[in-house]
Amino acid sequence: MTQTSPVAYDSKIEGNVIFTRVDAAINWMRSNSLWPMPMGLACCAIELMAASSSRFDISRFGSEVMRFSPRQSDVMIVAGTVTYKMAYAVKRIWDQMPEPKWCIAMGACASSGGMYRSYAVLQGIDHLLPVDVYVSGCPPRPEALLDGLMKLQKKIMREPSVEDQKRSLIESL
């Protein structure tokens, strides 16, 4: 019996091999398992809860794992009115999230202060954090949040992730 040894390519795995760029593969993995940090501060948090419940089911987009520890989260969903008293607490939680991280400003208050043109309310969380996606609404319906999440996934798919994080390595080569 003659033994054939695969030289470079095994016919058994033919059709199961995909060629891609590392960036694309990493982005694909990241964008489809975005673990949210639910920064629920007001009524938007109720819609955020609805988005993770069975009717709207955020797990269809890979984001069902709500982490109440910032160290295990990828995307902070700022859902609600950020008062000045809370502002630095939100910032501190954001700072504890490991890179790469993204931020969704959910609703009018988190995006711009909303109806609270007031001495007590931060006029948009983007004064403290870099926001990737703004979701309009007061509060936004769960569909709107899911749409924002899908927009964020599309945004992540365009990121040069390897280049961004291993810039010094690339330069040394």
């Binding site: 000045y84 008293k85 502002a87 630095y88 202060g113 609270y116 043109r117 007031s118 001495y119 007590a120 309310v121 006029q123 004064h127």
Partner: protein, 211 residues
């Protein structure tokens, strides 16, 4: 149904008992649709309150609120809402605070422990201190915030401030506002929030002809 018959059964009865006992302390009194309001000398608030609680059965302090009569002297006023659980009688006490710089009122925490947070809120929002309060610190804003936001001379959009590593504030962009709705029987675009200021033409006559 075991109501103590020695307690006043109506607000008017309670008010007249206070007047009898503290004739010199009651400055004025009004009666409106069964609600009794007594205006007191500030230094009599503590003893009148004690009398109301012990002799008249006002065991529940519903609320303390404060008013800023900006531009008038005296400027600040305290309002106490008392309620008697057993008889269901409600009585309102008021007292003007002389002097508009560093206003001070008497604390009633020793009579009603619930006054603790009410007085802290008034101190926080209006800047009225309460003598004898066990822990007079800010309750909504943070320690070090330099303003009293509910005073009439405090702007709606706020003022910038900074307490390092605690909190900061900035003035909110008003964008031509404040935007307010007005009570009118006009159509939706008459009612909707618009930039309106004191002295603007009232919307009723003006907008109703358009709708």
């Amino acid at each position: 149904m075991s109501a103590d018959s020695s307690l006043p059964q109506t607000a008017a009865e309670a008010a007249s008992k206070v007047r009898e006992q503290f004739a010199e302390a009651v400055v004025a009194g009004t009666s409106f649709r069964g609600e009794e309001t007594l205006a007191l000398q500030l230094d009599a608030v503590a003893k009148v309150s004690k009398f109301c609680r012990d002799a008249l059965g006002f065991d529940y302090l519903v609320d303390i609120s404060s008013l800023d009569h900006f531009g008038q002297d005296p400027r600040f006023e305290l309002v106490y809402e008392l309620y008697a659980m057993e008889t269901g009688v409600h009585l309102r006490l008021k007292a003007l605070i002389p002097g508009d710089i560093d206003p001070v009122g008497p604390s009633v925490v020793d009579l009603w422990p619930t006054a603790d947070w009410h007085e802290r809120e008034i101190y926080d929002m209006m800047g009225i201190r309460f003598e004898g309060h066990p822990n007079l610190t800010r309750i909504l804003m943070w320690e070090g915030y330099p303003f009293y936001p509910l005073r009439k001379d405090f702007p709606l959009e706020g003022k910038p401030s900074e307490v390092a590593e605690v909190a900061f504030t900035a003035a909110a962009p008003m964008a031509g506002g404040p935007f307010v709705t007005v009570p009118t029987d006009g159509i939706t675009n008459v009612r909707e929030p618009r930039a309106r200021r004191a002295g603007d033409e009232p919307p009723r006559g003006k907008f109703l002809t358009e709708s």
